[in-house]
């Protein structure tokens, strides 16, 4: 008798999907701030102004911290203990983003806005406004809407998209934790048998592969 993937999953799909409902009830109206940050980040990132980019990086870092300590630490980790470690990894990623952007590679040296910036904005809006509905579809409940900057899969996918503006020499550093998370989340959702929400971490893995090889603009 061998272990099946489903033998390793320690909670039911219902419990997982209800996390989003409970979280949304608990933090309302923080979702509005998260949405505003979600719209602001790609716009600020693709501007030439150094201040705008720094603000975007700060917001992105904050998104990882909010997500790691809020949804993951307080809601997801109690039913899935490895997530507690990911919560700390998310805080680490926030520092990494700040370090890469602030110290090693000043944001002003990032790719100029152009085709890539436009593609980033388009994909980002897809992540922000369309993909959350996959979780809603799985839960058959509008209250289960996940948010960028609050729940992990969207936050990670958005951040992977943003790395395409970072010079390739340091981009891989920013991709490590996102790739591990996307793999973990995709396997979890596969084991739970949730075919819609799994699209988000799979898109994250695809985006990470593209970002890894994409040359500097």
């Amino acid at each position: 008798m061998e272990y099946a993937l489903s033998d390793l999953i320690m909670f039911t799909p219902e419990v997982y999907l209800r996390l989003f409902i409970r979280f949304n009830e608990a933090v309302w109206p923080v979702q509005l701030l998260a949405l505003a940050a979600g719209v602001a980040i790609p716009v600020l990132l693709t501007r030439q102004s150094m201040m705008a980019r720094k603000l975007a990086v700060a917001l992105l870092s904050l998104a990882w911290i909010a997500c790691g300590f809020g949804f993951m630490g307080n809601f997801y980790a109690p039913i899935n203990w490895p997530v507690a470690y990911f919560g700390y990894a998310f805080a680490g990623q926030a520092l990494l983003i700040a370090a890469v952007a602030g110290a090693w590679q000043p944001p002003v040296r990032w790719s100029p806005v152009g085709q890539r910036g436009k593609a980033l904005i388009a994909l980002w809006l897809l992540m922000l406004l369309v993909l959350p509905w996959l979780t809603v579809a799985a839960a058959s409940d509008g209250r289960a809407l996940p948010f960028f900057a609050l729940t992990p899969d969207l936050t990670v996918l958005g951040s992977i998209l943003a790395t395409t503006l970072v010079p390739r020499a340091v981009r891989w550093l920013l991709l490590l934790i996102p790739i591990v998370w996307c793999g973990f989340s995709a396997l979890t959702l596969l084991a739970l048998g949730l075919p819609f929400p799994i699209i988000v971490p799979l898109a994250g893995l695809l985006a990470a592969a593209v970002a890894f090889f994409l040359p500097d603009a």
Partner: protein, 308 residues
Amino acid sequence: MICNLSRRRFLTSVAGAIALARIPALIASPSNRDLITKVIPASGDPLAVIGMGTWRTFNVGHDPVLIEQRTEVLKAFFQHGGELVDSSPMYGSAEAVLGKALAALNRHEDVFAATKIWTRGKQDGIEQVEELERLWGLDRFELLQIHNLLDWRVHMDTLKQMRADGKVRYIGITTSHGRRLDDFEDIMASEPLDFVQLTYNVLDRWAEERLLPLARERGIAVIANRPFQGGQLFSRFQSQPLPAWAGEAGVSNWAEFFLKFIVSHPAVTCAIPATTSVEHMNENMGAQFGMLPDADQREQMARYVREL
């Protein structure tokens, strides 16, 4: 052994002793609505043959709606005479949820509380037990098991000492999916265990070869985990009809078929199905009433599912 028995468990011990004096075999032969119990060899106490597992099903975190719903599942379990509840610190929030459900039902006295040590190191093991007692809201557990033999040498000493000090009633080890069977067998043969927990169901019968006979020989009670193969037995067979002779084997639905097959093995003391549903709990608990299949019927049952 010093035993701080709770009221109900003390009464069942007395009843068990009386029952034992009257019934020489391990299996009490029940009339139609009698609760089926088996005797725990270490103490002679009876134990209801259907317990409850909590892997996945009771890990609902802090969700108040689901905690209330799982409390209903546990309530149904007790209403049908269920006793043994099995959990582990590996099961996320399951033990905290159990503690809340037991408190809501005020059933701390009635549960045969079985959990596991799942950590490395002596001190961590001791602290884990203390933390679990707090989560369940109990002074002590009936049964402490070493989960999947993790750091078993260290914890075995702790458990033996705890049992001698009356801090736990029974001690044991667990495995599942047929892992580390040789080690498991060696420990069964060499350590003074009261219980073992292993996977046994109508399809996974490897324990019949050596472990179940050894348990009988050594007077060790056996808990069968994954009685439905984690639910797969239902996915595979539930759409099929029960055999025409099912009624003669005391079986009226698939849940009873799977569970009665298990607990009718003379070496098995109790099976611990897990469920999130009150309806399924009611079905499962049906298996601890009525007749149990005899040896020929058991073989017939195994053949029937093999051929489906």
